[in-house]
Symmetry: C4
Subunit: 274 residues, 4 copies
Amino acid sequence: MTLLTEQILYKVIKKRPNQSHKGTYGRILIIGGTQQFGGAVIMNAIAAVHSGAGLVTVATDAANFTAIHSHLPEAMVVDFNDDLTPYIQTNDVILIGSGLGDRVDLVQTTFSAVSEKQVIIIDGSALTLSAEHHLTWPKGKLILTPHQMEWQRISGIAIAQQPSDALNLMARDKFIKKPVIVLKQFHTQIYTDNGIYELSIGGPYQATGGMGDTLAGIIAGFTAQFNVTTLSDTVLAAVYTHSAIADELAKTQYVTLPTQISQALPIFMKKYAN
Amino acid sequence: MTLLTEQILYKVIKKRPNQSHKGTYGRILIIGGTQQFGGAVIMNAIAAVHSGAGLVTVATDAANFTAIHSHLPEAMVVDFNDDLTPYIQTNDVILIGSGLGDRVDLVQTTFSAVSEKQVIIIDGSALTLSAEHHLTWPKGKLILTPHQMEWQRISGIAIAQQPSDALNLMARDKFIKKPVIVLKQFHTQIYTDNGIYELSIGGPYQATGGMGDTLAGIIAGFTAQFNVTTLSDTVLAAVYTHSAIADELAKTQYVTLPTQISQALPIFMKKYAN
Amino acid sequence: MTLLTEQILYKVIKKRPNQSHKGTYGRILIIGGTQQFGGAVIMNAIAAVHSGAGLVTVATDAANFTAIHSHLPEAMVVDFNDDLTPYIQTNDVILIGSGLGDRVDLVQTTFSAVSEKQVIIIDGSALTLSAEHHLTWPKGKLILTPHQMEWQRISGIAIAQQPSDALNLMARDKFIKKPVIVLKQFHTQIYTDNGIYELSIGGPYQATGGMGDTLAGIIAGFTAQFNVTTLSDTVLAAVYTHSAIADELAKTQYVTLPTQISQALPIFMKKYAN
Amino acid sequence: MTLLTEQILYKVIKKRPNQSHKGTYGRILIIGGTQQFGGAVIMNAIAAVHSGAGLVTVATDAANFTAIHSHLPEAMVVDFNDDLTPYIQTNDVILIGSGLGDRVDLVQTTFSAVSEKQVIIIDGSALTLSAEHHLTWPKGKLILTPHQMEWQRISGIAIAQQPSDALNLMARDKFIKKPVIVLKQFHTQIYTDNGIYELSIGGPYQATGGMGDTLAGIIAGFTAQFNVTTLSDTVLAAVYTHSAIADELAKTQYVTLPTQISQALPIFMKKYAN
């Protein structure tokens, strides 16, 4: 178990090359947000755009389009009841699951359409639906972001047993393509090809709805644009960034709202780019 | 009659325990907001989220969903014409009545479904409808937030007689389950199991539409998350916080808008957490 | 011709009495905003609320409700295709005309329903429609806010002749109930029962769409709440405030947006309350 | 090839004359924004309004109206499926193409209706559609804002050959009415009647979706209001302003969002007005 430190930020967040364009920083497709949980994809997208993703498209219930554009004209939208296959195939990073409700059909379509080169981040309802429906995991580079109950559903490991790294590793080994697993808990643990990492920053001021959606959006934004090191390192940097910003805000705030964390991304990230 | 002071904030607002999650800080269901008065539930929810509630769901006219998410992707929404019973049963705090119009059916459904362990805050139209339709009060821990005319409707005590604590107490004693009553007026009085409290802060810069909706939202947020002391103390702290923030803003502002008060909650509350 | 100075603000803007409530600061009904010009009533309402009006209701095309609430949950809304008579009768100040398009029916209904005690501010399209359809002016306390072309339509005085105070006064004298006329131009002139006033502040940084809608909203907000002096004085103070804030913003800005002026109202007004 | 410097701002951005009104600063019609790409016209319009345009109307999918007004009540809206001819004829500057999808019919209508005195800015999809459908260019004063692939489609010059000024000039010479061409790339080049200019400021922090829509909006705002020098100079100043603001923001931010650039316009422009 390695403790995550600020060093991961210096390793991952790099000054951008002059000769680059928005395609250089990745295309992200976010799939989620029933009408009831539309806020989830809004928070995904605010985080992804503020972390510096090149292009962000949100596939969601059409009822959410106006609220998305009210926050973020920078994002494009598509009705998740349209055929998403062409969208899935032309984006570099797919984030699926935040506020997705019971739309297992969308999870299946996505899992089928994702290719090996793509990054796919599986969050929230998509994790539960995958477990409940025994879906075959997609071919892409997998990132899972379960909280403990979701991990129990996927892995079969009861929450009480999850402190056992060995059990978690065994569950991870069963995946044909081993995922990066961000196991969200008091001290979030990240299982990677290079070992297990633990996050010791962050705090209870983050315990509010939408915090996980924001984390998923930052992971999407980071994996879309950073590639000088490994995918694992990039996820670690995203996880660290999310809580480091919360810690900064918490110096003066009793609670830290998800959207405040996203708004703080551009200034926070600047400090580490070199 | 006890004068409320800043001490109530030190007593109620506590540093959060490290090992906690959003469930620790409570689930709130807000029921209100016809299309015409949709702003009321938006202000409820902005206040609840900024005060640190774990999860906030707004049951309202579907016409209000986009405006809610434009302000607050952190909130979830549900159409108040759907069956709300499962939502009522799975939330810790129910706030009903802000901008509810004449929807007595929703008040009845809610009053029937609330259980003894839940906190129910009854505001605005729900108070008037309860009086007009002689509804049976719900089983939950009751908090009423009437202004003087609403209190007259509920208690039968004319506004001119309301300065009489004895009469107000008698009216309160008729409730099977004695409520915390926040009687909003020039110097707001709060009737509790531990006596009567009076608020001497706040001022006429608060005399603008939506101020009461914001107060109800802060009460919801506080009761959802704070429990080291009594429910009465928690309500007292919410009432004090609402006007103390207004007083701070009024040092530089002629009027203090409801949403400004909510935005100021995280920084204000930080000063008292220890 | 009297030059308007900052003194008018000290005369009109007063510290609020402690014993007051939102009713004390007036109920405003704003009627306007076809779908195409919906922004106009949004700017009316932002100005009215930020200037300290007690309660603001916007009667407009239902297509504008969500955008209004996205800016201003403090405002209530009503479909202007519903029967507005009960709304007109229960508000203290009626502002009609901003972005109203060709809805002469709404002008007629409003003019008929307004009573002598009410203040009615007639702006934008309502001025043109009144002239074109030879409507009978309403019974209320009239405030007209024409720009020069609108004044030509109402008075029959060509723009080239409008520098003649005598002609303008003659036109004003034809009204049974003499209105306060805010004749918007390079140096705006205000015709009142106490003489003609001229505004020498403000500047070309204000020359942007929506500036007049914001002025109308401030006039509504001021007339709803201030009554220690005459209605004329209150209008003068509103006109002065609008441009004085623009002048402050213009110290650092090339253009001053209407919504920025409204946002600045609470802090600006504080300086004059005593 | 002339290097663009800050001097162009002093040359173009002038203190406004006192005797002026919103008509003095131009009427802009923005045509674009299918439902999916609605954010594009929002960013056009935010940029145009903040740069000081007198009046801005957005012709777009009606689904985008609420999001536009949530950002910008200062803008007017019209359904782009209505007959746009009267709107095209009564505006001074037409900006067409941002997020326009495959709506070649709108490009054709616009190109036919534009008169010689009008400025027409052709952006995004309108460029691609013009090339694909071999449309006849409109009679107005043309400004094209292609990125390299769009320029390839229009000119037939492959991206690899575009460093050749001679080829680009030859392509430009084929236009009956020679356009100002803003060829967006690492160092953006602007082809004008007075020679070729190159932008050496700006950076990769701008590589995010919507940056071009914002540039198009600033060009619209500048050409609508500035006319003391040539149209070419005005475009050059707009291009310089866009990246100069990004450079300022990038001193403290890792990425610079399009809407942040627009928000900064009024303060930035003030520094150059004399």
